[in-house]
């Protein structure tokens, strides 16, 4: 293999699994260290800059970082249940215990004369608004709802996300001089463009819940509700009760929110019934756990066939039992098992089987091209549509995802809009800012805590179930207190503190290979990657993780480090007699709209 090019920012970025997995690339270990030090405000600002909604995401994020977390792999074979660091809930710790951070928010620059319209007041639009308002853009956010927040406010139940958290974090953005026009439905894109906005950002989400057109749907309509519409009605107080027996159809996170909300509004016998198997459900594992913890059964492999009704009133749902088979192409099909159909009697049904986009207000003849699924054609990198002034983001750009993706889109769209308004090439993307700084303080001292905690993941304390189910506005999770937050933060392996190897200093004494607790380091003859992976001290089976290969050493061998399960404990560097190993903090911050991304600074050379 060729020596690894560690000067390319992607190499060490990939080692920070959580940050690499995060759509917004939040520097996770950086803020977790700050949480451990009790510097909650600093930790909050690291998040705020990167993901805009730390308090909201700290409760609701889909957390792509956690399945990626190295801690989960490291604990394999070492304990009963390998689990990642509770990254998401540590974000909440930062939000819960921070001091007043308002003095630290940026001051908007003088107005630059450019006007940007954001359609929809969800996370994507608000991110665009924040990034651009600071630069002096006049940003106006339109939303049909009276209050800003979009799906954050309308679809996420208050027992998961209290109102005051939304008010606070949306307020920080509006406080930057962003104008919000609530209760304003934008009826025509053509008319909007004619108003002469310099750019229009569409962040309207996926506002239409998919319906289920099976027999009985019309007859029993009074007691069949589309999940996200029902959740919005609950959130705004229009719906305050539901029948005693409730069936929720669908296996995604919306279904989980529906069943848990129903349980709080009078539903005593609430069930979730899903077409697929339990493991294939789209809902996050923890959301399924939360629902089951509240006494809600999840029934699988049942396809709804018909709503049953009597006298114009819903009486239940009939299901066909199926199983999964795979055809020769590996595609999965659900086929009936032939068992008799099952009928579940109920008073209300909530349909949460998916969401769709709706662009009825965008004329098809104004230069915005749509694909055959009714989605605007959007460049996935620049988020620009085929109309140069129109940009998309969040669920309305590339289909339903989640808040953190919406934020990531918002940042990229803001860069595109800024470049577009300055007459620069939108396709020319600014590089992230990366730095690599030695953490050495003394012979055995580092400016990070390199002792590895062996604690298992801490559970987030919950409110007593009887109290939690009694009031839909009472938050279920109490969050970590400071002590638990510290203990959980200590589980973080500091994967951003990189093992950096200088081959010219190495005397091949084997000290690093001997001390490495995870057998990551080998001194071997070089070879092709596939073959080299089998010859290391511990075979490097996880091909998703890179090998760090040095240049040739004096004996003709190379140093090969398998990044997979490195603890970043720094013992290799402590044991190295010549300083060939050093622990260096890699900090990568994504470019955001503004001065730094107008020029292109080259990434700093590694030491």
């Amino acid at each position: 293999m060729q020596p690894t090019d560690i000067s390319h920012p992607d190499y060490f970025h990939k080692v920070v699994d959580c940050q690499w997995a995060c759509p917004a690339h939040t520097p996770v270990p950086e803020y977790i260290r700050l949480v451990a030090q009790g510097r909650y405000g600093d930790a909050y600002m690291v998040n705020w800059k990167s993901n805009v909604f730390p308090g909201i995401l700290g409760r609701t994020c889909d957390r792509p970082c956690e399945p990626a977390c190295r801690r989960g792999r490291v604990e394999e074979g070492n304990g009963a249940k390998p689990e990642p660091v509770a990254i998401c809930r540590l974000k909440r710790v930062a939000a819960d215990y921070k001091e007043d951070i308002r003095p630290r928010l940026p001051q908007p620059a003088a107005r630059n004369g450019k006007r940007v319209a954001c359609i929809g007041a969800g996370p994507a639009s608000l991110t665009v608004a924040r990034d651009l308002a600071v630069l002096g853009y006049r940003v106006v956010v339109f939303d049909a709802a009276e209050r800003p927040g979009g799906m954050i406010r309308s679809q996420i139940p208050r027992f998961r996300l209290p109102e005051e958290v939304i008010e606070e974090e949306v307020g920080y953005i509006l406080g930057l001089g962003v104008e919000f026009r609530g209760g304003t439905w934008v009826p025509s894109m053509k008319a909007l463009l004619d108003e002469g906005w310099d750019a229009v950002f569409v962040g309207t989400g996926a506002p239409r819940g998919r319906d289920l057109d099976i027999p009985g749907r019309k007859e029993a309509a009074a007691n069949i509700h589309v999940g996200i519409d029902w959740l919005a009605n609950v959130a705004f107080g229009h719906v305050t009760a539901i029948g005693r027996r409730v069936v929720v159809l669908g296996g995604g996170n919306t279904a989980m929110d529906c069943c848990r909300s129903a349980k709080r509004l009078g539903g005593e016998d609430v069930k979730v019934i899903v077409r697929s198997g339990f493991d294939e459900m789209k809902a996050s594992p923890w959301e399924k756990e939360d629902a089951m913890h509240e006494g809600i059964p999840i029934l699988n492999w049942l396809v709804p066939k018909a709503f049953t009704h009597a006298g114009g009133r819903l009486t239940g749902v009939t299901f066909e039992r199926v199983k999964a088979t795979h055809d020769s192409g590996g595609r999965r099909h659900l086929v009936p098992t032939g068992e008799p159909d099952q009928h579940f009697a109920c008073d209300d049904v909530l349909v949460a089987v998916g969401q769709e986009n709706a662009f009825t207000w965008i004329e098809r003849d104004i230069g915005i091209e749509f694909d055959r699924w009714g989605m605007a054609k959007v460049d996935p990198l620049t988020l620009q549509s085929t109309h140069p002034r129109v940009f998309f983001g969040g669920d309305s750009a590339l289909g339903p995802k989640n808040i953190i993706w919406a934020v990531a889109h918002g940042h990229e769209a803001a860069i595109s809009i800024d470049r577009h308004c300055r007459g620069e090439d939108v396709a020319d993307r600014p590089a992230p800012q990366a730095s690599l700084v030695s953490q050495k303080m003394g012979i055995h001292e580092w400016s990070y805590d390199n002792q590895v905690a062996t604690d298992a993941r801490y559970r987030v304390p919950l409110r007593d179930l009887s109290r939690a189910l009694a009031d839909i506005r009472v938050e279920v999770e109490l969050g970590f207190d400071r002590e638990l937050g510290f203990a959980e933060a200590q589980r973080c392996l500091n994967c951003d503190v990189q093992t950096v190897f200088a081959d010219r200093l190495c005397i091949e004494c084997d000290a690093c290979a001997d001390i490495c607790p995870m057998d990551c380091i080998s001194f071997v003859a070089n070879g092709e990657e596939a073959e080299l992976r089998t010859r290391l001290r511990a075979p490097a089976k996880n091909r998703a993780q890179d090998l760090y290969v040095s240049g040739g050493l004096k004996t003709g061998r190379v140093m090969v480090k398998d990044e997979d399960v490195c603890l970043h404990c720094g013992l290799c560097a402590e044991r190295c007699p010549t300083g060939a190993w050093d622990m260096q903090k890699f900090l990568l911050e994504m470019a955001q709209a503004g001065a730094p991304c107008r020029s292109r600074p080259a990434p700093r050379k590694a030491a």
Binding site: E75, C509, T578
Partner: protein, 351 residues
Amino acid sequence: MTYLAKPKLHHPDLPQNRLGYTRRDYEGTVSTLCAGCGHDSISAAIIQAFFELAIPPHRVAKLSGIGCSSKTPTYFLGQSHGFNSVHGRMPSVLTGASLANRELVYLGVSGDGDSASIGLGQFAHAMRRGVNMVYIVENNGVYGLTKGQFSATADRGSKSKRGAVNTDSPIDLVGLALQLGASFVARSFSGDKAQLVPLIKAAVEHRGAAFIDVVSPCVAFNNHPGSTKSYDYVRAHNEAVNRLDFMPRRDEVTADYPPGSVVDVVMHDGSVMHLHKLAADYDPTDRVRAMNYLAERAARGEVVTGLLYVDARAEDLHYHLGTVDAPLNSLGERELCPGAAALREFNAALR
């Protein structure tokens, strides 16, 4: 050294031996030697060898004297018996322990100061008596604990870190061991575990005095140009006479070697050493030729490594003395006080 304990976490795929132990179970506490010390590599090789042999850690006694090398037993086999003796007196303490309990595996760890200076006499007698032990000398040619004076194994003409030239003749412990009747003699290098680990395994299985001289660079005081015990010098002058594959008795022999390239040596317990010849004319079963070969090569400044001499049918001290088969601590009153009749019989034999 480091102040941190090595984290208990280990690689998810860390293999287990026959006893269900991992290599990590054979470690000791974290080393306090200088970073990069060759001795730490030898400790790692010992850990690997005992892990691979699947020796129950509590059946091992590790004994040492004084010095950097003699500190190392703390850093491996943390679940084994240990004894830190007076400077240079490890061999006699070990001999006594071995006589008392012959069922343990005895591992003596010493250094060039401990064995070639203050303990030279002790070393000599352990070798000639054939005490059943592994005797490892971690040989760095320098007194590291007292800041780098030449030791008795430093080569004449080699330079100290300060630039002083050694004028004394060196003691070659391998040569002495051969002359004194050790029945397993090897030399290796701390920086070559592929060579060292099989040698330690074979030495553990050998019955009798097994001596391994391991050149182990002192990174702090003897790893500079002009030293003959530095990483660079040893790598440049290392002449391995053979490479060893050790096959414990239990393992089926599956390796397939080209004819003529390998000498198989069957040990007393049925274990097999496959010796790959690297020096065509070297015969590790011929003591006199081995001594000559070593002397010739040493005169050229070469460091000869490998299994230098083995007498697979050697007898040990217990055999020579006709001692009782069982460890002394397992003997009951009936065996220890056989009664008046046995005493009379014994006395009659002396008349």
